[in-house]
């Protein structure tokens, strides 16, 4: 019975285990707070954080911060996906470009994306454009590299089958190469998303107005630890939702379709 609880694999048990884990975490937090090791303005109680959460929710600052952040993210990320996939498809197919540009991109990708911020500020000033540039650079290379490697790893038989049935040029890219590389592209989209998300938070904390990163920074300036924590939790939740629900389910769908996973 007890063994079953720890080892058995059912959806319900999995959820129950997780609920218990997070309740324990909550009580640990409460317990530490009640020990009064640190002053409450540095280590607020769960209830204080909850109150702050409700107040920033009610006066709409939370909502507008999320809105601004998501707008930047979707815009920057969207641009990087379109450009990244296009560049990746091309360098995946053209040997010379792959040996030169491909290697160059892999090199640049080691640069943490927030390092693009000083350059962006000099080019674009303290503007939306600078932030969006940083977001684009955050995910562009991941998407490009994943697309490139997806194209290179396409099984030759798909290309031969496509050519055999009369696909050439742009048709070949649209109807054979792109879909055949999709599982790898989705991996790149996921990685690109998480890099874009990190880049954006970094940039917003450093200089942006509005946005979640800014809200986080305001919390620090006001010495309002419960706001800092409330916003951090929001940032985590958004990250989890996107990672697991959106990209996780996309990946599962492709794995299944490509016959890599039993349904």
């Amino acid at each position: 019975m007890i063994r079953n609880f720890f080892y058995h694999d059912s959806m319900l048990l999995k959820i129950i285990r997780q609920v218990i884990f997070y309740s324990l975490l909550y009580f640990l937090w409460l317990f530490l707070f009640n020990l009064k090791l640190w002053p409450s303005y540095l280590f607020p109680s769960p209830a204080q954080v909850g109150e702050t959460f409700i107040s920033i929710y009610k006066d709409k600052t939370l909502f507008s911060a999320i809105f601004v952040t998501m707008k930047r993210l979707l815009l920057g990320y969207g641009i990087s996906v379109v450009i990244g996939v296009a560049i990746g498809l091309v360098i995946g197919k053209i040997r010379v470009l792959d040996e030169t540009l491909g290697g160059f991109f892999v090199g640049i990708q080691t640069l943490p994306s927030i390092c693009w911020l000083p350059l962006a500020i000099l080019w674009f000033g303290l503007s939306e454009a600078a932030i969006i540039f940083v977001v684009i650079m955050g995910s562009l290379l991941s998407v490009t590299i994943a697309t490139d490697s997806g194209v290179k790893n396409i099984q030759p038989m798909y290309l031969r089958a496509g050519r055999n049935m009369g696909a050439r040029g742009i048709d070949m890219f649209l109807y054979v190469i792109f879909p055949a590389a999709l599982p790898s592209i989705v991996g790149g989209l996921k990685q690109g998303w998480s890099f874009a998300w990190r880049a954006l938070m970094g940039a917003e904390i450093v200089f942006a107005t509005l946005g979640l990163g800014h809200l986080l920074n305001v919390g620090r300036e006001l010495n309002d630890m419960s706001q800092v924590m409330a916003v951090m939790i929001v940032i985590i939740v958004i990250g989890i939702v996107m990672d697991m629900l959106v990209f996780g389910s996309l990946e599962r769908k492709f794995r299944k379709l490509w016959g890599l996973e039993k349904s």
């Binding site: 038989m157 031969r160 089958a161 049935m165 009369g166 696909a167 109807y175 299944k256 490509w258 016959g259």
Partner: protein
């Protein structure tokens, strides 16, 4: 439509070395013929298919269709690949319609032609299934439908039934024969299987080990419908197998360890009898 190969040579670059796959291939296939090609693994059977399909080109020599030199793929010469090669991101119906869509055939006509092609291979119940949901046999059926739907003059089949179990294989052989009789297409069929080759074809080409050349050609003058146990068929099979065995041994010697032949001899002497015999 008549296919002619004249003095065709084909080699590939492999790890910096040139590997000659086919040497001096000459033959001609008449319209409506069923040709089977048989030979040891790696002798260039798939390469032969690619050459006729226009997916590869000879180093020297020419591949003609009627009197025209093959200069690329054409919807008149379609390949059913060794591994089905259905696109996993498309349903069965979308796979079958793929070539038609590229030709900008209207949706209604596409649907209708796909349905007819799938009917020929008895797969209409799986229109909306994805390839990973099909069994191996059903995948090959879909692959055949994908070629048939384009109404090619020549069907190039590369060991299409090799990965199937014996029963499914026989069923599909019989169905392929029916399709061939109904549609009068020229079929160029590569196989490892001597029984399959003699059962299906008008002529069997035997290809020798690398570099592949046409070693022999066997006419199969047995009226259809054929039965598996036809004594004439069995006799022919024995003849071909004898000749093929030499080639297969040649390949094995070349590809496996050098002591391959020796090992076999040692195995014939049981270990316990060998004890002390050399003292």
């Amino acid at each position: 439509m008549r296919v002619t190969l004249k003095r065709v040579h084909k080699s590939f670059q492999q790890k910096g070395q040139r590997v000659q796959a086919l040497r001096d291939i000459n033959f001609s296939i008449e319209e409506g013929e069923f040709i089977c090609v048989i030979g040891p693994s790696g002798c260039g059977k798939s390469s032969l298919i690619s050459l006729i399909a226009g997916l590869e080109f000879p180093d020297s020599g020419e591949v003609y269709v009627d009197s025209k030199i093959v200069d690329g793929p054409s919807k008149d010469r379609l390949v059913v690949f060794q591994e089905a090669a259905l696109f996993p991101w498309l349903t069965v119906q979308e796979n079958v319609e793929f070539g038609l869509k590229l030709q900008k055939v209207s949706l209604a006509e596409r649907n209708q032609r796909a349905f007819e092609a799938l009917k020929m291979v008895h797969l209409t119940r799986f229109l909306n299934a994805y390839p990973h949901e099909l069994s191996g046999g059903m995948r090959q059926r879909a692959a055949i439908a994908r070629a048939l739907v384009m109404d090619p003059k020549i069907l190039l089949m590369d060991e299409p039934f090799a990965a199937l179990d014996a029963q499914t294989r026989q069923l599909l052989q019989e169905e392929l024969q029916t399709i061939w009789q109904k549609t009068k297409k020229t079929i160029f069929f590569v196989t490892h299987n001597v029984r399959e080759a003699t059962f299906l074809s008008d002529r069997v080409f035997e290809i020798s080990a690398r570099p592949g050349t046409i070693k022999k050609e066997y006419p199969v003058r047995i009226p259809r419908p054929r039965v598996e146990q036809d004594p004439q068929l069995l006799m022919l099979q024995t003849k071909i197998m004898g000749s093929l065995k030499d080639e297969i041994d040649k390949v094995a010697k070349e590809q496996l360890d050098l002591d391959y032949g020796l090992d076999k001899n040692i195995d014939q002497v049981p270990a316990e009898r060998n004890l002390g015999s050399n003292i």
